[in-house]
């Protein structure tokens, strides 16, 4: 099991945004989280990845608790998130966006930059090759040297996925990878996720587009008003009366 979320809770003021949520992602798993607006999905992501401090509960990655690590530490531990509204480095090119994500670069240390230039250059070549491979895999070659701020919504989602891949993450958390993406590109992104999952990378995906997500994941969790209300195969979860009620907005 790569990720275990145990009884995670968070309240903003009196509002319990995430209420005692537990779920797991198996090694190489492909798991989805659905729920209506305001169900607490994005907050759950922020709690898991350390962008928001949890009130209580634990997060373990490969059996080791990461609850005390800051966001950057959790990412270095192998768990990388993307954002609902893409956060590209707008003034860097697609290639530079990816290269920036490579871990442990000696050229990020000023001392090495000026006193070990040969080692920095050699590593930089490796990073550049790796970025080129990922750009080709994600079919972003045509925009590789375009500033990322000029990309379309779908291309930015792919860019964020590419940056996550550059870090060598074993678990990638995608926050609405299909939101604001044209339908053709949705299928394209789904296909890339399947291929990456085939190589052993785990995914936890939040999504509004139920159709695309249910075709993609093996396990689905449904949230409503901060609570986990259903877990199972996509078909089972979608036919669950509590899930239908949450989505159709029936009287509680």
């Amino acid at each position: 099991m790569i990720l275990a979320i145990e009884s995670l809770s968070k309240a903003f003021g009196g509002l319990r945004v995430v209420d005692d949520v537990s779920l797991t992602v198996p090694d190489g798993g492909l798991v989805g989280v659905i729920g209506p607006n305001g169900a607490g999905k994005s907050t759950l992501f922020s709690l898991v990845t350390g962008f928001v401090a949890a009130d209580s509960g634990d997060v373990t990655l490969d059996g080791r608790s990461v609850a005390t690590l800051p966001a950057s530490g959790r990412a270095r531990a192998g768990m990388v998130r993307t954002f609902q509204v893409p956060r590209e480095f707008a003034h860097l090119t697609v290639r530079e966006n990816l290269m920036a994500a490579a871990p442990e670069q000696s050229g990020e240390r000023l001392f090495d930059l000026f006193f070990h230039p040969a080692a920095v250059r050699a590593q930089e070549e490796g990073v550049r090759r790796q970025a080129t491979d990922i750009i080709e895999f994600l079919r972003l070659t045509a925009v590789a040297d375009t500033p990322a701020g000029r990309l379309s919504g779908g291309q930015k989602k792919l860019l964020e996925l590419g940056r996550a891949l550059m870090t060598g993450a074993r678990l990638i958390l995608l926050d609405e990878p299909f939101a604001g993406v044209n339908p053709l590109l949705i299928e394209e992104i789904s296909q890339r996720i399947r291929e990456l999952n085939g190589r052993g990378i785990g995914f936890l995906i939040i999504e509004h587009d139920l159709g695309a997500l249910t075709r993609l994941v093996a396990t689905l969790h449904a949230m409503d008003r901060g609570c986990l209300i259903a877990t199972g195969t996509p078909d089972a979860v979608l036919s669950n009366p509590r899930v239908r009620e949450a989505y159709l907005g029936g009287a509680a």
Partner: protein, 295 residues
């Protein structure tokens, strides 16, 4: 007339050093440093006091750079964990604290009277125009070295990360890198440059006093990098030249425009620079060297 141009060129070169530091901090990393003059002040007083003790210039300049950088370290650590706009306020406060400290600690700094009699640099070359030209050449050499170092930084993994921090700090954290360390280093580097600029300034003017280090200096440097082109190494130089052209050029307005007294002239100069800044932000927001998106 030659002496006048050499004098202006020396000030331009000193300001360019300050602008290169601020450009690294704001243009590349997005740090809103409103306290640049505080680090210049630390450098100027360090150089002045050590010169008084008979230290050779290379050593006192090194000390000026190191002390200015060390002054930036705690400031960075404390405030860079806060939001960007808080850093702007804290840095402005820092530079005022520095100015008040050098005003109050009379035993060390001689208070408002300041420290006079700082020896000229390059005194062995002679005096007058020859000596001033030698100082100018030294400043140009220092600027060239700094520009080369900046270019190396910009085109490196370090430069990539600081620009990524400027564009989106949360995304940098999400990729497993901690922005605070990078920001502290950038702040210290920029402060060291301001410290060296301050040391040159102290030796060039010949005395230091607290009223030379008012926030106006910081904002003149801001004007320079905005007009020159934020995020461009060349913009720091070009912007400083434009700033000085407006500041000094408007001096000659008095010969053309009648009925302006000496006192009014000071306000007119600031007005002219202010107008230039407004026109730049309206018609060329990316600055003269332009294109914020490309290096």
């Amino acid at each position: 007339m030659e002496a006048y141009f050499v004098a202006i060129a020396i000030i331009v070169a000193i300001y360019t050093l300050l602008a290169l530091g601020l450009n690294l901090q704001y243009g590349l990393t997005g740090l809103i440093n409103f306290g640049h003059v505080g680090f210049m002040c630390v450098g100027a007083y360090t150089a002045a006091l050590l010169a008084e003790q008979g230290w050779p210039a290379p050593l006192s300049f090194l000390a000026a750079a190191i002390l200015a950088a060390l002054a930036a370290y705690p400031l960075g650590l404390v405030s860079l964990k806060l939001r960007d706009d808080y850093f702007a306020i804290v840095s402005l406060g820092f530079s005022e604290v520095v100015r008040i400290v050098v005003t109050s600690e009379r035993w060390l700094t001689n208070g408002v009277q300041g420290i006079p009699g700082i020896p000229k640099l390059m005194g062995f070359t002679g005096s007058g125009l020859v000596q001033a030209s030698a100082v100018l050449l030294l400043l140009i050499a220092v600027n060239i070295v700094v520009i080369l170092v900046m270019r190396r930084i910009v085109h490196s993994p370090f430069g990539r990360i600081i620009e990524a921090i400027r564009d989106n700090e949360d995304a940098v954290k999400a990729l497993g890198k901690e922005p605070v360390g990078f920001k502290v280093r950038v702040l210290m580097l920029g402060a060291a440059l301001a410290g060296i600029a301050g040391a040159f300034y102290a030796h060039y003017i010949g005395y230091v006093a607290p009223d030379q280090f008012i926030p106006l200096i910081t904002f003149q440097i801001w004007m320079a990098i905005i007009m020159g082109g934020v995020g461009r190494v060349s913009g720091a130089l070009v912007g400083t030249v434009i700033l000085m052209a407006f500041l000094e050029g408007s001096r000659f307005l008095r010969d053309v425009v009648p009925f302006i007294s000496e006192v009014e002239m000071a306000s007119v100069r600031l007005g002219v620079v202010g107008l230039a800044l407004i026109l730049f932000t309206l018609y060329r927001p990316q600055g003269l060297m332009g294109d914020f998106t490309r290096r």
